[in-house]
């Protein structure tokens, strides 16, 4: 692997790290864990590339890798109930990275709304509205058709609507 490839990969880090961090944060509600996930995502992607793996769409590949890592993370946490998890993990540790109180309230409201949804719908809404991915991009990550993504997104919005009406 030559220096140019390493530099180009670091340029990709510069381009996508922030967006991936946001995505991970809204999936795990922990700044420390989100950072770990970003790190693991880029390292795994590098490992894949250096072994000769082919990537057609790097952005989609990064999100897909992050998604797999998040699923592994949630499986490991499976024995802890959601309430315990939220109680133990307010979402913005370490302390020196705490957002202002008004942001904490806002994040808590968003988290509470999203937690009303099943995991799949939740991740779809995060991809669509936090990461600004269009159904075609999401389809690449999930390996389903864009049409299917649109149907699922619509279903997720309906579920959320019901929650807001209650």
């Amino acid at each position: 692997m030559d220096q140019t490839s390493e530099n180009q990969f670091l340029e990709a880090y510069d381009a996508y790290a922030e967006a991936l961090y946001k995505h991970c944060f809204f999936r795990v509600y922990s700044s420390a864990r989100a950072e770990e996930l970003v790190q693991d995502t880029f390292m795994k992607t590098w490992d894949y590339l250096r072994k000769g793996g082919q990537i057609d769409n790097l952005r989609a590949f990064l999100y897909k890798t992050a998604n797999n890592l998040i699923i592994d993370h949630s499986r490991r946490k499976h024995e802890t109930s959601l309430e315990q998890e939220l109680e133990a993990n307010p979402g913005w540790e370490p302390a020196d990275q705490q957002p202002p109180p008004e942001h904490q309230t806002l994040l808590r409201q968003v988290r509470d709304s999203l937690e009303q949804l099943p995991a799949e719908e939740r991740q779809l809404l995060i991809w669509r509205y936090i990461d600004d991915l269009d159904p075609k991009d999401i389809a690449l990550i999930l390996e389903i058709t864009p049409n299917n993504v649109s149907v699922k997104l619509n279903r997720a919005m309906q579920l959320l609507k019901r929650y807001y009406q209650e």
Partner: protein
């Protein structure tokens, strides 16, 4: 619902990756990358280490790897141990890091031209056999097909101007012509056509693709 979308939008902007944390992670990633040699390179080592008959080649390889295998791989030809580094590591990694369709199409044209040039060099050295030629032709066909895929993507996104279509179609035609020349064993002409194809794909006018990257980036940045 609007309330939720508005909350989500505000929440999105309230979360940010602290610049110092992001920079620290970048350093960590750079260190990780520098400590991880490519498996393709390891594969080459392993293959030769167990075969005493290859000891002279191993010694040469040690020197080459020490000086930077990937750099040497850049000029390697089919049949060379480093050719696998060139085609399975260097080129795919660079390709994967190109995000826009028309730069990628130009890169595919560049790779196609390289395959033709490799055939020409081997033919000049009298080292081109049927197996290598078949391998290079297949690779050439794949790159031409990938150019077509990228043109389709550009069309689907409706970011393609008539000029882009013309340049990329011209590149594809030249590469197909180069393939025909290869089949008739006229490798110098094939190589010349390959170079023309790479240039045709690269020389797009500024603003030819709406919403895509600039000509300067297209011409140079992602191309080796």
């Amino acid at each position: 619902m609007n309330q939720f979308q508005s909350q989500l939008n505000k929440a999105k902007h309230s979360v940010r990756f602290a610049p110092e944390r992001k920079a620290a992670l970048r350093h960590k990633l750079a260190a990780y990358m520098s400590l991880r040699p490519t498996n393709a390179r390891q594969g080459v080592w392993h293959l030769h280490f167990n075969r005493l008959t290859y000891i002279p080649a191993l010694m040469i390889l040690l020197v080459v790897v020490g000086a930077g295998a990937a750099v040497a791989a850049g000029t390697s030809l089919p049949g060379s141990p480093l050719y696998v580094v060139k085609t399975h590591v260097n080129e795919p990694v660079r390709g994967a890091l190109i995000s826009d369709d028309y730069t990628r199409a130009a890169y595919e044209a560049e790779l196609a031209a390289r395959r033709v040039e490799e055939a020409n060099q081997l033919a000049t050295q009298g080292k081109l056999n049927e197996q290598i030629e078949a391998q290079l032709t297949t690779s050439l066909d794949n790159h031409v097909r990938h150019i077509g895929d990228r043109v389709d993507q550009l069309q689907a996104k409706q970011t393609q101007s008539a000029e882009v279509q013309e340049h990329l179609t011209n590149a594809q035609s030249l590469l197909k012509e180069a393939r025909t020349k290869m089949q008739s064993r006229n490798y110098p002409d094939a190589a010349r056509l390959g170079q023309q194809a790479a240039q045709a794909a690269r020389q797009l006018p500024p603003g030819a693709v709406k919403g895509e990257n600039t000509r300067q980036q297209h011409n140079n940045k992602n191309l080796p």
